[in-house]
């Protein structure tokens, strides 16, 4: 589904990603872990197409298309979804109206008819029950005055409505208490299928207790330095990121 090869990218001339290689297949859950400043959020932003980031080398293939050639809204149309670490507020714009516009824009991109209000409301009711989200939240202006937990739940609700092929969760657990993490993770788990994939970007292992990954990758200094199964996350949790740093330092010394 997604194939990243030798991806180099940065911001304002500063290289942050220094050769990322990663392949994600349908039905898989991948986790990217790493200390602060390792490039986790940069990777999420580059994949979603945030303009401030410059790609200097490498390629990203998404469902047979050159992802880097597509505008952010086209990437969304192709089925890529980013659950933001910091969802933005749009005062006065009702959350329902926003989601309806997004859904119909994506449908337009795919050459489908816009969904009528009745079908939309029916779908919304279904997903609301699934995501344990309240109607009152959706009538409010987009993310305005939402608590941290409400914002993240709203992200996952949007994911449920848009039904992406690949969902990237950027630090979705940050700022959430354990109950909120559980609700958000349950939502993600309910949306998992053999046809879609999830990329979880996180600093801490705790989210992975609830969204169990098939693969864990450790990002350090702009590169994936270690990959493994879900047990790698537990090892990181136990030993801290220093153990990775030490391993790398040792390897570099050997090379010299």
């Amino acid at each position: 589904m997604l194939r990243i090869q030798n991806l180099h990218a940065g911001i304002e001339e500063r290289e942050i990603l220094k050769g990322i290689n990663l392949t994600i297949n349908a039905g898989e859950v991948h986790a990217i872990m790493g200390p602060n400043g390792s490039g986790k959020s940069t990777l999420a932003s580059v994949l979603a197409g945030r303009e401030a980031y410059e790609v200097s080398q490498g390629s990203v293939d998404f469902l047979g298309k050159d992802l880097l050639e597509l505008a952010p809204e086209e990437r969304a149309g192709e089925g890529l979804f980013l659950a933001f670490q910091y969802p933005v507020e749009i005062p006065g714009l009702s959350t329902t109206n926003f989601i309806k516009t997004a859904l119909n824009e994506v449908r337009k991109y795919r050459g489908e008819e816009p969904m009528d209000s009745l079908a939309f409301l029916k779908m919304m009711k279904e997903k609301m029950a699934m995501m344990e989200i309240d109607q009152s939240l959706l009538s409010r202006p987009l993310n305005e005055g939402f608590s941290g937990g409400e914002k993240k739940r709203n992200e996952i609700f949007q994911m449920a409505m848009l039904q992406p092929k690949l969902a990237i969760l950027d630090e979705t657990d940050s700022g959430l208490d354990i109950d909120a993490i559980r609700i958000v993770a349950n939502g993600v788990n309910k949306l998992k299928s053999k046809d879609n994939a999830v990329l979880v970007v996180t600093h801490y292992q705790r989210l992975l207790d609830y969204i169990v990954p098939d693969f864990v990758h450790v990002l350090y200094n702009g590169r994936i330095v270690k990959s493994g199964g879900k047990e790698l996350a537990l090892e990181l949790e136990e030993k801290g990121y220093d153990f990775i740093k030490n391993e790398i330092r040792a390897a570099e010394e050997v090379n010299q």
């Binding site: 401030a52 809204e73 933001f84 749009i90 006065g92 714009l93 997004a102 859904l103």
Partner: protein, 481 residues
């Protein structure tokens, strides 16, 4: 954040959809302004002597007045001798039925989305159609007449209801009020007259559609609405003009009078030609609008969506004379490219327990300048006056300007006056968030702007709210890249 926004700034030419010209023979006054011009207009309209005298008096006063220079707008001096002050399509004026209207004119209004064929018209909206200096027809007149409601052109009202015109014309905006009001009083041509009798709730929206068509012509309409005791009316005006390289002057006067327990809701969707991307052409919109809550428990509410004009200078105001009267002002003003707007309101609290509410939303894009200017005045005897003002500005890009000039004059200690103001920018983050959900940048801006203006848009009559939302989006088309 700044460099991010530069990406949102690339501008392409905005598409003004109403810029066509109707090719029709016109009956015009000679260029320029002097007493003969005024006599010409008055004679064309077969006016009584008192009205001609009123016009001439206004003109003589105007000669002694200076153009106001305090607004935050810049424009070359207006050459009043280079303007045609009266232009009317050569057709039968005051047609007996709508069928007699020149088909070319009917088509013009149809192109603008205004059908004069009543049966095709939204039931619930009566229209007076004004082109240049004359009204060409008013719909639903008979139906309204059965309720005692008068809805007709100003020229017709002068003929048919002189006692009402004599009583109320200039009673809220006297000819001496300001430079443009004096000019209008001297040369005014058509506008609408509405009279709602005691206790009648007008069952449909009344509306006037103003169209400037002729070249080198100014439009100087005059609208007067009188709501008798316990009556209610909702009125809406819309306006467009052809795209021309020269600036054209529009100087209107609107007067509203609400007696005891009466309510007038006045909405404007102003979409005069704003000029091109380089700032060439466009309408100079200098308008004086004022209402008086004459009676106790009366209410006047102004709602305006201002997207057009090269220059907008207008301050729809309310004189709160009756006790417990209420004044409201809801405004969305959009400026793009080189447009300049200096707009706001005046709320004058005179009666006891009067209330006013001001909600102003300014949206600036391109290299435009958008100013809110408002006065809240509480007189010595206006016990327990209350005012709440909210002025928000939204900037697209960093070459445009937003300004707020609130004036507060309180002479009574029991008054409570509140003022809130905010300025924000459309952020790269907001746009990207929308993009990531599949929404392109243009649609994203429309969503954000409509969200920003929602409180005001909600005040518009249902029939026009959707139209106005689209208009907001169109006005900002091309302001982002």
């Amino acid at each position: 954040m700044n460099d991010g926004l530069s990406a949102i700034e690339k501008t392409v030419l905005t598409d003004y959809k109403y810029g066509f010209v109707t090719d029709i023979e016109a009956d015009e006054a000679p260029k320029g302004l002097n007493e003969d011009t005024i006599r010409f207009i008055s004679a064309k309209k077969k006016e009584p002597q008192w009205l001609l005298d009123w016009r001439l008096k206004s003109y003589r006063h105007w000669l002694k007045m200076e153009e106001p220079a305090w607004a935050n707008i810049k424009y070359p001096p207006i050459d009043f001798q280079d303007i045609i002050f009266y232009s009317a399509p050569k057709q039968k004026i005051n047609p007996n039925s709508l069928d007699e209207i020149d088909p070319e004119l009917k088509r013009t209004f149809e192109k603008l989305g205004i059908s004069l064929e009543e049966q095709k018209r939204l039931t619930g909206v009566a229209v007076d159609a004004v082109i240049d200096s004359v009204s060409i027809g008013t719909t639903f007149k008979e139906q309204l007449g059965e309720l005692g409601i008068i809805f007709c052109s100003m020229s017709e009202a002068v003929q048919e209801h002189p006692e009402l015109i004599k009583k109320y014309l200039g009673s809220v905006v006297p000819p001496t009020d300001n430079h443009f009001a004096a000019l209008n009083s001297a040369v005014f041509s058509d506008g609408s007259f509405c009279y709602i009798p005691k206790g009648v709730r007008c069952p449909m929206e009344l509306s006037t559609y103003f169209r400037i068509n002729a070249e080198n012509t100014g439009q100087f309409e005059r609208t007067l609405i009188v709501a008798e005791e316990g009556s209610y009316v909702s009125y809406l005006e819309g306006c467009t003009a052809p795209m021309r390289d020269e600036n054209q002057l529009h100087a209107a006067v609107v007067e509203l009078i609400a007696l005891d327990n009466a309510e007038i809701k006045y909405s404007t969707v102003q979409n005069w030609y704003p000029g091109d991307k380089q700032g060439k052409g466009g309408i100079y919109n200098f308008v004086t609008k004022r209402g008086i809550c004459m009676g106790d428990h009366s209410k006047i509410s102004w709602t305006q969506v201002e997207t057009g004009s090269a220059i907008t200078w207008k301050y729809p105001s309310v004189i709160l004379k009756g006790d417990h009267s209420v004044g409201e002002f809801y405004s969305v003003a959009v400026t793009n490219n080189h447009q300049q707007a200096d707009t706001g309101t005046k709320m004058m609290h005179i009666g006891k327990n009067t209330k006013s509410r001001i909600v102003s939303k300014g949206i600036s894009a391109g290299v435009s300048n958008n100013s809110y200017r408002g006065l809240v005045q509480v007189n010595r005897k206006a016990d327990n006056a209350r005012n709440f003002s909210q002025c928000d500005s939204l900037l697209l890009g960093d070459k445009c300007g937003a300004h707020t000039f609130p004036y507060i004059e309180v002479k009574n200690k029991t008054a409570v006056v509140e003022h809130e103001a905010t300025t924000s920018k459309i952020g790269e983050d907001q746009i990207f968030y929308c993009n990531q959900r599949g929404i392109d940048t243009e649609t994203a801006v429309a969503l954000i702007v409509n969200g920003f203006a929602r409180e005001v848009m909600n005040q518009l009559p249902m029939e026009f709210a959707v139209e106005a939302q689209k208009l907001l989006a169109i006005s900002l088309e091309g302001s982002v890249g």
